[in-house]
């Protein structure tokens, strides 16, 4: 229903995304700063779809041309649809944090000790099969625990209010949630970030490709020009993020309107560090993600880099 057919040069792209997490900050910048317009590209529908399944459905039905999500969603799609293609990298770090209630903070201790301390706790995640669940599963398994028995995973959905609320009211002991929930929780004095892969707490996840944009081959064929334009615009946006810190702080303030200043201040350096250097998909980063997903059992098998990433999107 939504303009999937048009393929003129200065065309329209419908871009769906899971949520308004930090991963999609580059899209916001590209839109705000007019990078898309510069490329004669206009964005049509911009739905927030909440789950990977819905992004996949929207892609398949042609409601959207590109889907923004995490690698988990892309790999899940690849399992059922051999037309799935990865096009853009947005965040090259696993931007999910484990947040615990109170102000205990990281404290000391090795990663394993910290994970063991989570044993028997109630941990909030966005939903089954999500990257937030994957992180808990992965960490627990690395520490020799069984996530199914040694913790209670609770689905809280993707909205911040529910997550922070559940933590604040003590309904869960910890959260495994995407940025900026951790920062928001800290700013609200509700909890503190406990394990943060993006900050290098989990060495095996360093350089992991996580925030991505994916699509389907038929769309890429149909809208080659538009996607190329999209890629260029995102490249410029990524550059902006890695550039002047105060400008980023400004833009982030607009993006996460209503988030406390303290949280924003903390986010800026993290973002600058974890934002992908190039929109092209880097093989090494892809492999980290692939290994992680297979190891944590999130996907049964992940396609190889060459299958999933068309050559013109490779780094």
């Amino acid at each position: 229903a939504c303009g999937a057919g048009s393929s003129s040069k200065a065309g329209t792209l419908n871009v769906g995304q899971i949520s308004d997490s930090v991963a999609f900050f580059p899209l916001f910048i590209a839109e705000k700063q007019g990078f898309f317009t510069d490329e004669k590209l206009s964005l049509g529908e911009r739905p927030r779809l909440g789950t990977g399944a819905k992004v996949a459905a929207a892609l398949k039905s042609g409601s959207i041309d590109l889907g923004g999500g995490v690698m988990t969603d892309a790999l899940n799609l690849a399992e059922i649809d051999d037309q799935a293609r990865l096009t853009t990298s947005l965040i090259s770090a696993y931007y999910v944090d484990i947040v615990v209630g109170g102000s205990a903070g990281k404290g000391g201790g090795s990663l394993e000790e910290r994970v063991l301390a989570l044993k028997g706790k109630k941990i909030g995640i966005t939903g089954p099969g999500s990257g937030t669940e994957a992180l808990v599963t992965y960490l627990f398994e690395q520490a020799g625990l069984d996530p199914a028995k040694d913790a209670t995973l609770v689905n809280l959905g993707a909205v911040a209010t529910a997550a922070v609320g559940a933590l604040k009211s003590g309904r869960v002991d910890a959260l495994s949630f995407f940025q900026p929930i951790g920062q928001q929780a800290e700013a609200a004095g509700v909890g503190s970030i406990y394990i943060s892969p993006a900050a290098g707490d989990v060495p095996s996840l360093d350089g992991d490709l996580h925030g991505v944009v994916f699509s389907r081959q038929s769309i890429l064929d149909d809208k080659a020009d538009e996607v190329a334009a999209f890629q260029t615009a995102i490249g410029r946006a990524l550059g902006v993020i890695r550039g002047d810190g105060s400008r980023v702080r400004d833009l982030l303030g607009q993006y996460l309107d209503g988030t406390p200043d303290a949280a924003l201040d903390k986010l800026v350096p993290i973002l600058q560090k974890e934002t992908a250097t190039t929109p092209a998909v880097v093989e090494s980063q892809y492999e980290v993600a692939r290994t992680f997903h297979v190891q944590s059992g999130l996907v049964d098998a992940a396609p190889s880099y060459s299958t999933l990433v068309p050559s013109r999107f490779r780094a």
Binding site: E45, R48, K54, A57, S61, A158, V159, T161, G258
Partner: protein, 285 residues
């Protein structure tokens, strides 16, 4: 109340003159006319004020205001949205979805109710299937909806319409079952066929049930549309709710809910007017 005889009805011109009643003009004071409405509306206003004041006082004092916000913040948020046009844009979209969904769903439900309510056997066969369909949480089928209908306004209208449909359908069908056989027979005796029975008896006699269906489904038109917007939200009040919630902005969530409540109130008022119009013949007390 002063009463003066105006018209005497005791003079039938035919052979039979009734020894009947007399019609009088009644001078009703302002209070007689509007007293009731005034009491009702002021009670409502009072209640509203009490609730708001309690809320304002409780927020931050007894209850954490990050979860319930406070009325002043909500009003401020509404003001902001009003000024930057967010409110009008998103509300307009949602209102369209709601009204379309409501009208389509109610029309289909009423039609289905009247047709199947009259065809007892067919209804009995279909009943479990209808109930099974009805019992499916629509959110669980969100991907299917997206695949089949996309993420445009159609999808939200359809979600609203589907929920409304079931409620209106079931209420109407139940009301049709309860229609007095004597009245149906009366129309049959006058030579009325199925069509006449439907329009001249079943329809008016089951009006109460149909209206209950409408009243009960008003909120579901809203909920359906909003759920649709939550499923794939890019605009509308559902989007505002989602967006605000994602930003941990409780005032925003409540502001959107306030707008929804107002829409519900207006629709409910319309149904109430219809109710009054249709039930003119019923005793007041």
């Amino acid at each position: 109340m002063t009463a003066a005889p105006v018209e005497d009805t005791t003079t039938g011109d035919a052979s039979t003159a009734p020894a009947g009643a007399v019609r009088e003009h009644v001078d009703r004071s302002w209070w007689d006319r509007y007293g009731d409405a005034t009491v009702i509306w002021s009670s409502r206003l009072l209640l509203l004020v009490v609730v708001l004041v309690l809320w304002q006082v409780a927020a931050g004092r007894w209850v954490d205001d990050t979860f319930i916000s406070r009325p002043t913040d909500i009003v401020a948020r509404l003001g902001d949205w009003w000024r930057d046009g967010t409110l009008a844009d998103n509300t307009w979209i949602t209102v369209q979805e709601i009204v379309l969904g409501f009208v389509i769903g109610a029309a289909a439900g009423a039609l289905g109710g009247y047709v199947l309510g009259a065809a007892r056997q067919v209804y009995r066969v279909l009943d479990p299937f209808i109930m099974a369909l009805y019992s499916i949480p629509k959110v669980a089928l969100a991907p299917l909806f997206i695949v089949w209908i996309g993420i445009g306004m159609d999808m939200k209208v359809l979600l609203a319409a589907v929920t409304v449909f079931f409620l209106v359908f079931l209420n109407t069908a139940a009301a049709v079952r309860e229609v007095d056989r004597g009245l149906v027979d009366a129309v049959r005796l006058m030579g009325g066929g199925r069509r006449e029975i439907a329009t001249k008896v079943i329809l008016p006699a089951s009006m109460a049930g149909f209206l209950t269906g409408l009243k009960v489904s008003v909120p579901y038109a809203l909920i359906g549309a909003v759920i649709g917007e939550l499923v794939a939200s890019n605009r509308g009040l559902g989007y505002l709710i989602n967006d605000s919630a994602a930003q941990f902005d409780t005032a925003g969530v409540f502001a959107a809910l306030v707008v929804l409540s107002v829409i519900a109130g207006v629709l409910n008022l319309l149904v109430g007017l219809l109710d009054k119009r249709v039930n003119r013949w019923k005793p007041l007390d």
